[in-house]
Symmetry: C2
Subunit: 371 residues, 2 copies
């Protein structure tokens, strides 16, 4: 059971408050990704200092190493990794398709081999619920099947129908507790009728929140927004809506505009480790020689520790020299940039001016997917 | 000009206070190594929090990248890297011998090729002083020549004599300022008469402090202590004594016992990145499978953030998964361990019980060079 309250709306955009056993989450929210029990290159204290209120953990990675049973023996994922705030875990369904080898899918579940050591594992709705329970995840994701994009209607339909059966089994296996919840995942690819069928199936089952899966798979922003146009607003008004694995800043601003409340993406952390900086003036590659003599911060408008204390020239130097501190500072900056964007989004909704915020942002960042 | 005051002694061990333009340093002190403008895997704030009061920068690395002139354009090394405390820089003499390629040594200086891009460079006493001035180093090291160990008497003698000529030129080229100082470096290998000749030459020139070079080159602790026995106590009483590149905890405790005040070593930071933890019970390899289910901290007696917030099992997991946070936490712990050791050493000297501290420590850690 999760409590979710809409506090303000502006057209389709919503501002809300989600309560969990580990604290509150203001929505729209961005969840930094802590794949294997750590947000890469960050301490939990520095993640918190960016303004992040909830992080994401990956069932697939954690079940393989250190294993869910082991995390449970350490008192759950919060205590294992020293993150006291809320945690959402995915179901493992997406990664088992994209990362593991030699998969065999039956109606029962998926048998696969670990990408780490080749060992054999099994994942099903019931096992995914058990793993996420062992991890002590505040938001458990239902176990679904993912298809490659592009895929034919028949393929997407069959997969979506299996996902709905698996999500029903997820609901039956989920152990409900106060401050913990289960989210269903809408599938159906880029087909409007399949998305609607999926929504109907999920709302019949009943979940604490609804995620939109199968996007950000290479379809492009325009198609993604089209799908959101007929998906997000058809989800129950009184439950949080989560767009999985998205995305670029402009993706987020556009999705909030279409009624989405929650996001996660490796973009800010992965970019931070490869030298890409998100700024209020677009994306910078800090490895670029043009920064070598620059005495200004990454982003003069940014209040993060990297921008308060270091120059572009120094951060360029760290990346050129292969120093870990470069990854630390730039990941900090990028996650701070994302969290600050979410704060601006929430404020704009509260102040009933989100459409203007959206239009100005989309104009300024229309090229951010190319950068 | 650097101010140095001996505050307490116990037999040959000394406790003192060194004043620089960027603050005080309590001695005996350990300087974490910030090779190329960062203590690897640490932020300056986290270095400071370990208790470190002074760090070391490497002239050789910094002159190649980002270059001394560029660091100067950023306001010096303190501002470039956001470390507001004192900084000591080495002269580049040691690294130019060990890291660069195609060296040509003449009486004038050393011509060499960069290990990064093969570009040609020149280092001499005058250029080393200029570079360290540009870096704004609080403690400049005189430029000396280093010989490989073992080496014959004649070879060591010739090299030491050239070093003394180069150090005289260093003194002549050094620009003296209040709160900044120049240290001479005693050479002479494992030969007592050469060490004494070197000390005489250096004290005739006159320096703000005296370093002992040419040790920790593979001679072993016993020989190192023998050299210190006839070197350290023959240095001027009223100036700080610095044992370069040393070392293991037991090396430090034994060297303080012989009258040394300052140390630097990559050991705690390098070990931290490879999974070695220094503890009050010896050295642990955190990658070892025996830690996988351990719910206790690295060192129950340690007050560092890694030991306060994380288990051995979690840190083992981070190293197994190749996560940067493993390096961050273990480097933090190891430098904290070293700085805490220095604090214990200083307290034991003040309380006139250093000999007992030394004897107990050497008994407990006699095998730490093997670990």
């Amino acid at each position: 059971m999760l409590n979710f309250k809409i506090e303000a709306t502006h057209q389709k955009a919503r501002r809300g408050l989600l309560s969990t056993a580990h604290g509150f989450v203001q929505t729209p929210t961005f969840m930094p990704v802590g794949t294997v029990g750590t947000v890469k290159a960050m301490t939990p204290e520095s993640v918190k200092a960016t303004g992040a209120e909830i992080i994401l953990g990956n069932t697939y990675h954690l079940m393989l190493r250190p294993t869910a049973e082991r995390v449970a023996s350490f008192g759950g994922l919060h205590r294992f990794m020293n993150w006291n705030g809320p945690i959402l875990t995915d179901s493992g369904g997406f990664q088992v398709m994209s990362l593991s080898a030699l998969r065999k899918i039956t109606e029962d579940g998926v048998t696969f081999h670990s990408h780490i050591d080749g060992s054999k594992h099994f994942l099903s709705p019931e096992r995914s619920m058990e793993i996420q329970y062992l991890l002590d995840s505040n938001i458990t994701m239902a176990f679904d099947e993912c298809v490659k994009y592009p895929a034919e209607y028949k393929v997407v339909q069959k997969s979506m129908e299996r996902s709905m059966r698996w999500e029903k089994r997820s609901k039956e296996a989920f152990i409900d507790r106060e401050g913990y919840g289960l989210f269903g995942i809408v599938q159906g690819g880029m087909f409007e009728d399949l998305r609607k069928t999926s929504i109907k199936a999920l709302t019949d089952i009943g979940f604490d929140g609804y995620a939109i899966g199968g996007l950000a798979v290479g379809e492009g922003q325009e198609i993604m927004f089209q799908v959101l146009d007929y998906t997000a607003c058809n989800l129950p008004d009184d439950k949080p809506r989560y767009l999985m694995g998205v995305g670029r800043p402009s993706d987020i601003v556009g999705a909030v505009y279409r009624g989405v409340d929650m996001f996660d993406c490796v973009m800010p952390s992965r970019s931070g480790r490869t030298g890409q900086a998100f700024t209020s003036h677009g994306v910078l590659n800090m490895r670029n020689a043009c920064h070598i003599d620059s005495h200004i911060p990454i982003d003069a408008e940014c209040t993060c520790p990297a921008c308060q204390n270091y120059t572009r020239g120094y951060i360029h130097h760290l990346f050129r020299a292969g120093e870990i501190l470069g990854s630390i500072l730039l990941t900090t900056h990028n996650i701070h940039f994302y969290e600050n964007l979410m704060k601006q989004i929430r404020t704009a909704i509260s102040e009933n001016r989100y459409t203007a915020f959206h239009d100005a942002f989309m104009e300024k960042y229309k090229n951010d997917r190319k950068m």
